[in-house]
Structure formats: structure tokens, C-alpha cells
Amino acid sequence: MDPESYLYIGILFFLLGAVISLLPLPKVKNYTYILSSTGALSFALLSLHLLFATPRNLFSAQISSLFNLAFSGDAISGFFVLTISILTFAVSIYSIGYIRDLKNKGLMGFLFNIFILSMYAVVLSGNIITFLISWETMSIVSYFLVTFDREGKSAKAGLIYAVMTHIGTAFIIILFFLLYRYTGSMNFSDMKNLSSQIPENLRNLVFVFSIIGFGTKAGIIPLHTWLPKAHPAAPSNISALMSGVMIKTGIYGFIRISMDVLGQGPEWWGIAVIVIGAASSILGVMYALMEHDLKRLLAYHSVENIGIILLGLGASMMFKSNGLYTLSAIALIAGFYHTINHAVFKGLLFLGAGSVMHATHTKNMEDMGGLLKSMPYTGLFFLIGSISICALPPFNGFVSEWLTYQSLLLGFKSPSITSKIISPLGGAALALTGALAAACFVKAFGISFLGMPRNKHAENAKESSLSMIIGMGILAFSCLLFGIFPGMVLTVLQPVSFMLTGLYGTPYQQGSLLGISETFSTISPMAILITLIVMSFATIIFISSIGGKRKIVYGDSWDCGIPALTPRMQYTATAFTKPIRMIFKRIYLPRRELKVSYLVKPFFVKSIEYKGEITPFFDRYIYEPVIVFIHRIAERVKLLQSGSLHLYLAYILITLILLLIFGT
């Protein structure tokens, strides 16, 4: 079949899913997600066509005599379609079980399908108006999904999200128009061919705007502020999609404009991207560490991972402008690899968080604990997600971060001194990020899944339904798969690399080895995995041959002689992160309030109230002042409409007189 038919079949399935969800068929509603997952498969087939064939126009229709809707696809779109499809497939299956207890199932099904379609539309858009329509549709639908529970709090989060994204869109519109003005075309492909006509300084402007515009969606620091508010507010299957793939459409837009359409830029573009990436990754993970809301924590990790992706992409741009195409290809692949990896493991983690919330009715880790025993599968999958996101071998995050390290390390080969300096600094940032991420997920997994249950809900938690487990299982399996078979992912990435850098086959693959010939370095996660397994057996054999068979006695944990540990004595998430909070207090600006009330001062304490928080720096010192300023101006301007008719008449007179004086 030709790619168009996969496209139409896919669209058909999603639309069917959307429509059937709205019909009053309560039983059927739960299973419309099967249609979505089938649709995702169809789109996955389409993506393979796009990846391994020449770019083609898929669909085109007239909006009016002025504009056309046009969809087209090339390797870049293909890659993103594939990423979306993988996550959609798993999330759809997960949703079957997840939405069972949800109110407004029908609306959820409708929005879910439209949301996914709009994401596909974004990455397949062939011209600017199609892109804008798809982009904003995606934003609006996701806005509705964020505000799905219709509570005031989510409404506020949704509002911030929608407004931020709209600001981004404004920049995108301007940059599109700049491109249109100087290339005379609204099609991305024509723009790309004619982009050399754009004056140099305007190219820079387009680049800056693409960072702001798409960066808002992607959630780079300091434009990330909506992300930790909106993602947690949405139902978890949606959070998974939002964090896993929706923010990647921002990356897609950035790649499409700054790397594809504009082609090669000056060196500082790449450096700027690296700096932004480094800042996003470090600050993202640092704020994540201080979160005790499981979903907000994960949302901040999205900021971090977008930063890591940008480190790779930035390095790629930097090398390209320095003429080092091989290195550029490596860095590019690192960025893309991390993109797909993040989609998989972040999706998995959000689904896991969703299952946990489903079982414990809370997002607050301080109320969880001991869930691994009551929810063994969810726990295992969450653990796999955690290991992957911490880039620990042999899972997928390791491979992409390793590639990113390699590409940053290779910066020393660059002829420019700035690149040479900036790239190891990027590497240091990545190392710091990695360590912080590990600490963060020790906290996230340790506090919520290990130890003792901290309240009734956690104690009575039940394992999720089968479809949810399968959904998570698919993603967990993918984490392992993409980790131990990097060659598989590379096959998909090579066309993209070829399209953007003109190179195939770097980094190379050889059996289970992933190698970079420039540094003679190789890794083989498969070999590491095998070593771990073989050595475990060897160890077990060795131990029992020396120690023989020994008894295991179960008892209470060491309690210093005080009878019975209670869950309240456990380390909390707040306590866990205290040293980090203290060490980085310049960044966190922690504040604490201690209120002690006494019966007899200072001997008998009645109660102690402790309140601690870290300062949300960007909200407090950037966004709030701006909002306050605008509101203050607005209050002033409001005096214009003071209710006095005489004043209004005076406006007419003054307007006329001014026009008479200056107009004629």
C-alpha cells in the first residue's frame, strides 16, 4: 500500500474512536482506545515509509482561495510520527483500564483521539498555516485535557499553559512570516530551498524566535513555568502523552525551522542551544528534586530531558557550522535518540504515576510508601523507567546520554575556541544532571514504593488492571529494547541524520556494539546486561559453595530498642532532599517557618508547626512582576472608561481636532 492509505486508515481509526466515544454507548466507550492503538500502528507504518523514502506530499486541500491545507512528510516527520505512534500505542492500551473510573469518559475519548491526531498533524504539516492550525488545535485540545477535572486549580494551570503556549505561537507566527516574506513561499520545503535569500540578521532573528516560540512548548528554562503546573493537572494517560510526545513537537518545530529550513547557521546558534540545554537540564532536575508531588516531579524531569536533547542538538548545530559534519551527525543522533527514549521512559513513568494515583488517590509521595509489595508490576515498571531516566545501563537512557557525552567530548576537535570550551562545560552539566536525576529517582521510587505505607490508602493499594499493566509493560520492554539494541534505533535515525547532515553510518554499529570511530569508543549495553546476569549466577553459585545453605530469619527493622517502628519514623521525601536543599540554597532560596506554641514556655511544648518551601524563582521574580505590572497598567487604562459621558464626548472632540491638525 502507498503511504497515503496508511495515513487515511490511521486518521479513520482515530476519528472513529473520537466519534464512537461521543455516542451514548457506555460499554463500548471503554474500548474505543483499541481503535486508537490500531490507528497508531497504521501511522507507525506510515512513518517507516516516510523514513526510508523520499519526501512526499501526503494530502492537500483548499481552505480558501488564499490558503491551502497541506500535509507532507519526510524523514524528520517520519521519526516524530514513529515516536508518537509508539507512545500512543502503549498509552491507548493503558487507557482502557485507566479511564474506567473516570467521569466524562466520552469526552475523554473524543479529546484523546483528537489530541493524538493533532500531534500527528503538527509533525506532518507542509506549510505554515497548516502547522499553525494543527499546533494550536493541539494546544487547545491539551488545554481541555489539562482542565479535564474542571476544578479551579486545574483551570488555573490550564490557563497558564494556554497563555504561555499562545505567547510562543505569537513568536512562531512572526518567524513564519519572516520566512515567508523573504522566501515568498508558505511551504516548508520551498522555504528550505530559498532560505539562502534571507538576510543574515533576519536569519538570526528567526533562530531566536524559534527558540522562544518552540521552546515555550518544549519547556526550556525559563519558559518552562507552565509545564510543572499543567502536566500534573491532566489525567495521567494524557500527562504521559504531553510529556512524552507533545513537548517534543516543540523540538520538532525547532528542528524543522532552525536546522532544516534555515540549514547551517553561525556558531553561536549551537552554543546558545547548548547553554539553554545545560541550564534547562540542571535547573529542571534541581526543581524536580524538591517536588514531592509525583507528577510535578516527573514534569520537571521533562524540562531536564528537553535540556539534554537540546545539548545534543546544539552540539550538532555547533559542529555543523564549524564544518565537522561527522561530529554533527553523532550529536544529532544523540539528540534524536534521547527524544525517542524520553518519550518511552517518561511515558512509562507517567503511566506508573497514574497507576499509583489510581490506587492511592494521592499525588503526594509523603502519603505513599511500600507500594512495591502491593503493586509489584507497577513498581517494577516504574523502577525500569527510573533506571532508564537516570541513564543507568543497560537501559535506553544510558545509550543516548552516552552519545551526548561523546559528542560534547568531541567538541575539542572543533577549530573554534568557544566551541572547545563550551562543549566540556556542557558535558559537566550533563554529569551533574545525571547525578541529580539519580538522587531524584532514588527519592521518587524509594519513598513511594519502598518502606512502609504511610497511610491507609497506600496500605490498601491494589495492583492496576491488566490493560494498564500491559500498557506500561510495552513501554518498559521498549526501554530495555532500545537500550540493548541501539542498532535498531540507529537504523531509524540514519535517514534523519542523512537528511540534516548528509551523512550515513555515524555512529557505527557492529553486532551489539555501538561505536564512535572518532574516539575509538564503544559500548555494548547488551554485553553489560549479559555480564550482570551471568555474574549474578556465578555469584550465587560461589556463595552457596562457600557458605552452604543458610537460613533467613525475618524480623523487624532495627529500631534502636524502641518498640516498633512506625511509618512516621521513616525518612520523608523532604528529609531526603534536605542536604541538597542546604547545599544549593543559593538556587533554591529555601524559606522555613517554625511556629512553636507552648503550654508553659519554654518547657512544655503544645504543638510545633513547620512550614518550609523553596522559592519558585522564575515565577516569583520574572512572571509575577510582569503580570502585576500589566495589571497595574490595565487598572490605569481602565480610568479611560470612567463612566462619564462628558469625558467620552471630549474624546470625540479631541480625536477630531488632532486629526484635523495632523491629518490634513
Partner: protein, 501 residues
């Protein structure tokens, strides 16, 4: 036929005023509107295809071309929609004791007179006749606002401000017409010197400085009526105090009829003064309107006023499109008129129902519309997003066209300012309606007991009004993806009429 079109609403108005039974009045009102639509459609279609004049008693006074047909079609459509909506709306008001049968008769009579005056505006060939018609719309609609469905005091205040400001404004417009007349009789003599048909032919020969002066007066004059800032001040008061179907008519089409005057006049002034002069003035008014309204939208606490300010914003956008000019700019402006005439009435219809349910026009008093009235909530959301210029709804397309026209002319400052204020508007609208639509309804139960729920949410006419709103919402979505060929063609014909190349 044109005369028939004009007569139908007058007859309907008289009948409505004479009858005593409120149900019967409702049916007569509906019948009038339906017959009007049936009669008007072929006339409009033929006008769009080729201009039609009128001979006979009023020789040379009436004339219709594509542009008049386009606007007239909107008048008739919204007239019909408002007639249908009014039935259930007034029934509710009647049951709630906010209005008596006398008020009801007046309401329907004035509604149809209002439609008549607006039809007259579009059908007038003569500049002065059009002026008379526009002034007449002020008087009739002021009475409608003054009917005072809400608080008597507020209604009087709004009506007073409305009538004073618009009359003052329109006085200047008449001055402008005199000056234009003066310029034109210098060329064609007194006969027909104020007719479009004449003026179009001689536009390039008119004295530029005279026409410049005339344009300033007309722009400020009709601009007052069209709601362009800084002479817009009557608009929020009038829109917020008028009964919702009337607000819908005011916002959706009355402003457009005034703007229609500006459009016509611009096309006559432009050949002599050059498009830079008219364009700059229109862009100036457009930007000021967008700027001021966006700020008011941001801090608005009353949703009907919010919608009113949004109308100012959209009139500003239309003015911007006209000012930027060129086929694409005008295309955008004309499409925007249509889009706004769909989205804004939908919102006013919806706000009428919200007001009836919650008994308040304050945003803070309305909570959880999505939960209490899901369909209405969704419709409101579609309308609100459309008004904020968000794809995939209709208004985005026209705004995009206008922006594209600005880009083609290199007016980056316009693009920048527009997008800046568009973000503020988006924020304002979404936060305002977000607060109303989301959340929980605490007070719904108590309020529902006060207002007669039976009449509110059931009954055929209530469903009919819902249906018309759903239809409008569907149009809003469809026009966001595809402008049907007949609309596309009509707009192109209009561009032809305006003489834009």
C-alpha cells in the same frame, strides 16, 4: 423586490405591536423573519452575481451589489437567529416578571424595525439615505436598550450614552457627507451626486484635500457607531445592558453596517487621496481599538462587557484589514466581518442563557457552567476560543489573512503590535470564561429554584434556540478549515466592488 424586502420587517413590526397574545406575537415575529429570509435570498444571490438597481418611485435611491448583498445576508441571518432566540428568551423574562406584555410587544416591534433600518443601510444607493438609515438604527436600538430588562437605571444610562455619543458621532459623519457632496457636485452637478453608482465612476477626479477632510469626519463619525477606539465608549455600556438577542444584533451586525459605510466611503476616497492616507488612518484606529480593548478585556469583571470589548477589538481588526488593503487585506477584513458576525452573536446568545440561569453578569458569580449546562458550556468555549483568534476556528483564518497582507506590505510594526495584543486578549478571554466555565456550581441549586426551571431548560423554543447556537458553532468550526466557494466568491466579488486591485 428590494422594496418588498424592506417592507416585510415593517409589516411584521406593526403586526407585533398590534397583537396582544404573546405566543402569537412570537409566531408572527418568527414568520416575518422566515418570510424575509425566503424573499431575500434570491435577491441577494442575484445582487452578488451582478449589481441591481431600483427604478420606479424611488429611482436611483436603492442599489445592491455584492457588498450590500454580503452584509444584508448577515443582517437577515442574524435577524432570523435573534427572532428564534428571542422567543424562548422573552418567555423566560416574561415568566420571571422582568417584562410585561406591553414591553414584549414593543420589543418585537422594535426588533423588526431595527432589522428594517439595517436592511435600509445596505440597500441605500445614496450616501445621505444611508446616513439617515444609520441614524435610524441608533434611535431604534436605543429604544431597545432602554427597554431595560435588567436594571431600569442602568438601561437608561446606557441608552442615554448610546444615543448621545452616536448622534454626535453621526453628526460629524453627515458633515463629512456634505463635504463629499460638495466635492462631487463640482464634477457631476447636483443630480445623483451622492449616489454610489455615480461616485464610483468619478472617484479619481474628486478634489483630494476636500475628500481628505470628508474622510476624517466620516471616519470619526461612523467610527463612533462602529465602535472604533477612542470613540467607542458607548459600546460596552449598550451591549452589556441590552437584552442578549439585541446585544447579539448590535455586536454582530449593527457595528458592521456602520463599518460598511466606512468601507464604501473609503473606496470612494482612496482613488483621489491615495491609499496611504486612508490606510494609515484606518490602521491607526484599528491598532488603538485593539490595544485599548485588549487591556479592558484583561481586567474585565462582567462577561457581557467583556464581549463588548471584544467587539471593539474585532472592529479594530477589520479596520486594520481595510487599512492594510490590497486584495488579501480586504479579503481578510470582509471574511472577518462574517466570522465576527457568527462568533459574537453565539457568545451573546450563550451569555443570555448564562445570565438567565445564574442571574448575574458578573464573572465571579458564575461558576461551573460546563457542569451545570454542558452543551452551553461547550458552545461558549467554542465561541470564546474563536473570538480569541485561536485555530481551528474561523476567526484565525481571517486574522491570518490580514496579517499576511500586512507582511506583504512590510508592516512589521502592525504584525508585532497585533500579536502582542492578541496574546493579551487571549489571556483575558480565556481567564474570564475559564473562571465561569470551570469550577463547581455551589449556587446552582438555590438559583434554580428561584428562576422557573421549566421554562428555562425545556420547551420547543428553548431547543430551537440551542439548535441555532449549535448551527452557528458548527459554522464556526467549518469556516476554520474551509471557506466554501460561494463565500469565497462573494468576498471576491465584494473586493471587485470596492475596486481593489
Amino acid at each position: 423586490m428590494m422594496i418588498t424586502i424592506l417592507l416585510i420587517p415593517i409589516v411584521t413590526a406593526i403586526l407585533c405591536y398590534l397583537l396582544r397574545n404573546h405566543r402569537l406575537i412570537g409566531y408572527v415575529n418568527l414568520g416575518g423573519a422566515v418570510i424575509l429570509s425566503i424573499v431575500a435570498v434570491p435577491v441577494i444571490v442575484s445582487a452578488i452575481a451582478s449589481p441591481i438597481g431600483h427604478s420606479g418611485m424611488f429611482n436611483g435611491m436603492f442599489y445592491m451589489d455584492a457588498l450590500s448583498g454580503y452584509i444584508m445576508a448577515m443582517v437577515i441571518f442574524l435577524g432570523l437567529a435573534s427572532s428564534i432566540y428571542s422567543i424562548s428568551y422573552l418567555e423566560h423574562e416574561l415568566n420571571a416578571g422582568l417584562i410585561d406584555i406591553k414591553g414584549l410587544r414593543r420589543y418585537y416591534a422594535l426588533l423588526h424595525l431595527f432589522i428594517f433600518t439595517m436592511l435600509l443601510v445596505t440597500a441605500a444607493n445614496n450616501l445621505a439615505l444611508m446616513w439617515i438609515a444609520i441614524e435610524a438604527t441608533t434611535i431604534v436600538s436605543a429604544l431597545l436598550i432602554g427597554l431595560g430588562f435588567t436594571k431600569r437605571k442602568l438601561a437608561i444610562e446606557a441608552a442615554w450614552k448610546y444615543i448621545i455619543l452616536c448622534t454626535v458621532g453621526i453628526t460629524f459623519a453627515l458633515l463629512g457627507i456634505f463635504i463629499a457632496y460638495y466635492a462631487s457636485i463640482a464634477i457631476v452637478g447636483t443630480e445623483g451626486a451622492l449616489n454610489w453608482t455615480e461616485l464610483k465612476g468619478i472617484a479619481a477626479k474628486l478634489n483630494p484635500s476636500t475628500m481628505r477632510l470628508a474622510f476624517i469626519f466620516i471616519l470619526v463619525g461612523y467610527g463612533t457607531k462602529a465602535g472604533l477606539a477612542p470613540v467607542h465608549n458607548w459600546l460596552p455600556d449598550a451591549h452589556s445592558q441590552a437584552p442578549s438577542p439585541i446585544s447579539a444584533m448590535l455586536s454582530g451586525i449593527l457595528l458592521n453596517t456602520a463599518f460598511y459605510g466606512i468601507m464604501r466611503f473609503t473606496s470612494i476616497v482612496e482613488p483621489s487621496t491615495g491609499s496611504v492616507f486612508t490606510g494609515n488612518l484606518l490602521i491607526l484606529f484599528g491598532i488603538i481599538s485593539i490595544a485599548i480593548s485588549s487591556i479592558f478585556i484583561l481586567v474585565q469583571e462582567n462577561y457581557k462587557r467583556l464581549l463588548a470589548y471584544s467587539s471593539i477589538e474585532h472592529m479594530g481588526i477589520i479596520s486594520l484589514g481595510l487599512g492594510i488593503g490590497g486584495p488579501i487585506g480586504i479579503y481578510g477584513a470582509l471574511l472577518h466581518i462574517l466570522n465576527h458576525a457568527l462568533s459574537k452573536p453565539l457568545m451573546f446568545f450563550a451569555s443570555g442563557k448564562i445570565q438567565a440561569h445564574y442571574g448575574s453578569t458578573k464573572i465571579e458569580n458564575v461558576n461551573g457552567v460546563l457542569s451545570s449546562m454542558p452543551l452551553l458550556g461547550i458552545l461558549t468555549f467554542i465561541g470564546a476560543l474563536s473570538l480569541s483568534g485561536t485555530p481551528p476556528f474561523n476567526i484565525f483564518i481571517s486574522e491570518f489573512a490580514i496579517l499576511k497582507a500586512a507582511v506583504d506590505k512590510g508592516m512589521w510594526h502592525v504584525v508585532g503590535l497585533f500579536l502582542f495584543f492578541a496574546v493579551i486578549v487571549f489571556y483575558g478571554i480565556l481567564s474570564g470564561f475559564g473562571r465561569m466555565l470551570f469550577g463547581r456550581t455551589q449556587n446552582t441549586e438555590d438559583r434554580a429554584q428561584n428562576t422557573d426551571k421549566e421554562s428555562l431548560s425545556s420547551g420547543f423554543w428553548f431547543m430551537a434556540s440551542d439548535l441555532i447556537m449549535v448551527l452557528m458553532a458548527l459554522l464556526i468550526i467549518i469556516l476554520g478549515f474551509r471557506i466554501p466557494d460561494f463565500i469565497d466568491g462573494t468576498i471576491k466579488a465584494c473586493i471587485n466592488v470596492l475596486g481593489v486591485k
